[in-house]
């Protein structure tokens, strides 16, 4: 089992994105956090190493085990590397700044269902919408509009509706906590097409920004990951052609069950981001301990401090191993739901614990505005909330152990 990723491909990704994080992300992370601004220049720069918006569609296709250019829908049995590569890359980028990491990869949230459930025409609409630049000269980005004010963890209770009217669907409703929600050029919107069908009636639609009735809403002010845009999106009699409903002519049904599978497949990379935050705080503290003194004695002469470091290192390594095992399972086509949840939940907890303890050990120093550890402390919290809260992950783990969904 290749958990340690010695292969040149993994080392190359780690080296390239690690250097990008160090040289390009770290210098601007505090600025984008303070200004709550998107790192548009970095997003443009990321294209130079293949993180184009269109490539995310193809990349997502590879994650689910299909050749990007093969529209037959048959799974390829040969083990992939993309899930592990995603984890390696996500850790490095989040080590630089989790908010920037999410800004760079935010379009992938929308690209994933298009890759999984979309047909050629839908993929073309999606990719064409991302070509060129917007009116500000920024690269174009995508958003997945799933969560709603009344549905956070319980995504089966969506209230946004899609009503059939001739050859169009008419969408009405409000979406909340949408990554790239205010600036996206194209959206994947989830809506209830049949109120009597429950979760089976929820379907996804590809909707371009210029569609009448699609109204980008207010950008949220957040505790952390402030370089990543989070906004509301509103739909008022938004008419979408029936051809833009995902899953209309594919083996995948385009419903919520496919969405859940999609979240399972991306969960290891989300956990890897939390590992990146924890590692960043740990490395900062390690460096300070190596050179610092207290009461006239070296910090590294104190067992209290050194054991804290040891504890952090143990938890970070354990989180990384769980995350990478889940990714390895995904690459080998193995059922990884439990491990994906364990990795994400463990990494989220580790990131919170490491950043909290690092702040305590640093004392007043960490209160200075722009201090990286304070930022990482705020960034870490979202990993226990989005992409399935810590409680949802534990429900998934417990259910996989017992077959019973605990309430």
């Amino acid at each position: 089992m290749d958990l340690f990723h010695d292969a040149p491909m993994f080392a190359g990704v780690r080296q390239m994105l690690g250097a990008f994080a160090l040289r390009q992300i770290r210098p601007v992370a505090a600025k984008h956090d303070a200004e709550e601004s998107m790192p548009w220049e970095l997003m443009k720069m990321a294209q130079s190493f293949g993180m184009t918006q269109s490539a995310m569609v193809d990349g997502a296709k590879a994650v689910i085990g299909k050749d990007p250019d093969d529209a037959s829908g048959d799974d390829v049995k040969k083990p992939k590397t993309i899930a592990r590569i995603s984890c390696v890359g996500a850790e490095e980028l989040a080590w630089g700044c989790a908010g920037v990491c999410l800004a760079l990869g935010g379009s992938g949230l929308a690209a994933s269902p298009v890759a999984r459930m979309g047909n050629d025409a839908q993929r073309k609409v999606f990719k064409d919408a991302l070509k060129g630049a917007d009116e500000h000269g920024h690269i174009k980005i995508a958003a997945m509009a799933l969560s709603e004010p009344s549905t956070g963890s319980d995504i089966s209770g969506l209230s946004t509706s899609a009503r059939k009217d001739g050859d169009h669907w008419v969408i009405n409703g409000h979406k909340q906590w949408i990554t790239n929600g205010a600036s996206a050029a194209v959206y994947v919107v989830w809506a209830q097409t049949d109120p009597n069908a429950g979760r089976g009636g929820v379907r996804g639609f590809v909707v371009t920004r210029d569609t009448p009735g699609l109204i980008p809403g207010r950008k949220e002010t957040k505790l952390g990951i402030r370089a990543s845009e989070t906004a509301q999106v509103h739909f008022e009699d938004c008419r979408v052609h029936e051809d833009m409903m995902l899953g209309i002519d594919q083996k995948a049904q385009g419903g919520l069950s496919d969405t859940k599978k999609m979240l399972d497949s991306t969960r290891p990379a989300v956990g890897a981001q939390a590992v990146g935050i924890a590692r960043a705080a740990f490395e900062y503290l390690l460096e300070r301990v190596q050179g610092g003194t207290t009461h006239g004695t070296p910090l590294n002469s104190h067992q209290h401090v050194m054991f804290e470091l040891a504890e952090m290192e143990m938890e970070i390594q354990a989180s990384r191993l769980l995350v990478h095992r889940a990714a390895w399972m995904a690459d080998h086509g193995l059922e990884n739901v439990r491990f994906a949840s364990m990795g994400k939940a463990h990494a989220a907890r580790t990131a919170q614990q490491v950043t909290t303890r690092a702040m305590a050990l640093l004392g007043e120093e960490a209160l200075v505005p722009g201090h990286p550890v304070e930022k990482w402390y705020r960034d870490a919290k979202i990993y226990d909330i989005f992409e399935g809260t810590g409680q949802i992950q534990r429900r998934i783990i417990a259910k996989s152990l017992t077959g019973v969904n605990p309430t």
């Binding site: 956070g152 957040k222 207290t294 705020r378």
Partner: protein
């Protein structure tokens, strides 16, 4: 053993709770965004005598007789429920005023009480890592290094400086002040003070040597008990907001507050907050009695309170989920505010270990 409040304490609790529930909580979000409390805050808190409650009546303050730390802890808890930043501004003058009353010269009293009686602020800074350079000179001392960040230092006229073998009243104009706004306690008028051989004249030195160590232990006990009380108030506030949200928010067909995992989350945090409040009050009570164990009790209270406020605010955000992460709801502010309790004065657990080693 008597857990009930006397008449004065009941009046203080009722007054402060009314002030917090009616005004402070209403102002907290805007003050956080603006990095400043509204003018009405200072006006009302000033009318209530909060800024000079530790300044002797004869010097223009409100203190008549012995200062009561138990009453202060009760007030601090209520203020913590409202806003940690505004609580810090209300509490910031207490340590300098009490220390100067007890150990200060007439010149120190005149300098500090004159400033505070005019509506000024003072703050307390501790050289927890022994990083400042202190040198004798001109009969007094010279200080080199950076002090802070400290709440109220952005507007304070004096810093009560607690350094190894030194307790002194440092005039802020002896150094170079920089006002800053951290992400927590944003309305608390933070600042740093860069000192390059900043002179503290002899009559502003409150204690040196063994006397300084003894004075410092006493001052830190006051400060720690107050911080613990306020932290328990913030923790309680986080759980109050979480309880309200959990009762209203429905997911999977039921109020999320009825899920066993969230019941436990809240229950554990509430228990921790309650424990911290009791330990803070106990420490304050010991201080009021002049008990020899007061300093240790205050330190222990702070350890427990730091854990409680950290846990409760993080769990508060967790219970509110996506709403907890955005600043339309108050809990993300509480999570930011929690950090200062642990950062100020340094790592309390480390202090205890070093104290037990005799370092």
């Amino acid at each position: 053993m008597e857990f009930g409040l006397d008449d004065e304490q009941q009046m203080v609790v009722q007054t402060v709770r009314r002030f917090v529930d009616k005004d402070v909580r209403a102002w907290a979000a805007d003050a956080d965004r603006a990095g400043a409390a509204p003018d009405r805050f200072a006006a009302i808190a000033g009318d209530l005598g909060f800024f000079v409650d530790a300044v002797p009546e004869a010097a223009g303050g409100m203190l008549d007789g012995a200062y009561r730390h138990t009453t202060r802890a009760l007030r601090g808890f209520e203020l913590g429920r409202g806003c940690a930043a505004m609580a810090a501004l209300i509490e910031t003058n207490v340590e300098p005023a009490l220390a100067v009353t007890k150990w200060g010269s007439d010149a120190a009293k005149a300098a500090l009480f004159g400033a505070l009686a005019q509506g000024g602020f003072a703050t307390t800074g501790r050289d927890a890592r022994h990083a400042l350079e202190i040198a004798d000179g001109g009969g007094g001392v010279h200080v080199t290094g950076v002090i802070g960040p400290l709440p109220a230092l952005g507007v304070a006229s004096h810093v009560l400086l607690l350094a190894p073998s030194l307790v002194a009243l440092l005039p802020v104009d002896a150094g170079t002040r920089a006002a800053i706004t951290p992400t927590g306690w944003r309305a608390a008028k933070w600042g740093t003070l860069t000192c390059e051989r900043a002179a503290i004249p002899a009559d502003l030195v409150l204690a040196r040597g063994d006397a300084a160590a003894s004075a410092q232990a006493e001052i830190l006990a006051w400060y720690r008990a107050s911080l613990a009380a306020r932290a328990s108030g913030v923790a309680t506030s986080a759980m109050e907001h979480a309880a309200k949200y959990a009762a209203e928010r429905v997911q999977f067909g039921q109020a999320i507050g009825t899920f066993e995992a969230l019941i436990r989350l809240r229950d554990d945090s509430e228990t921790a907050a309650l424990t911290a409040r009791l330990m803070a009050l106990h420490a304050a009570w010991l201080i009021d009695r002049g008990d020899a164990t007061a300093a240790d009790a205050a330190s222990r209270a702070r350890v427990v309170a730091n854990d409680a406020v950290s846990r409760a605010t993080i769990d508060g955000v967790q219970i509110l989920g996506g709403y907890g992460f955005v600043n339309d709801f108050p809990v993300e502010k509480l999570m930011r505010d929690a950090r200062a309790f642990e950062a100020l004065l340094g790592d309390e657990r480390f202090d205890r270990i070093l104290a037990r080693k005799g370092a």
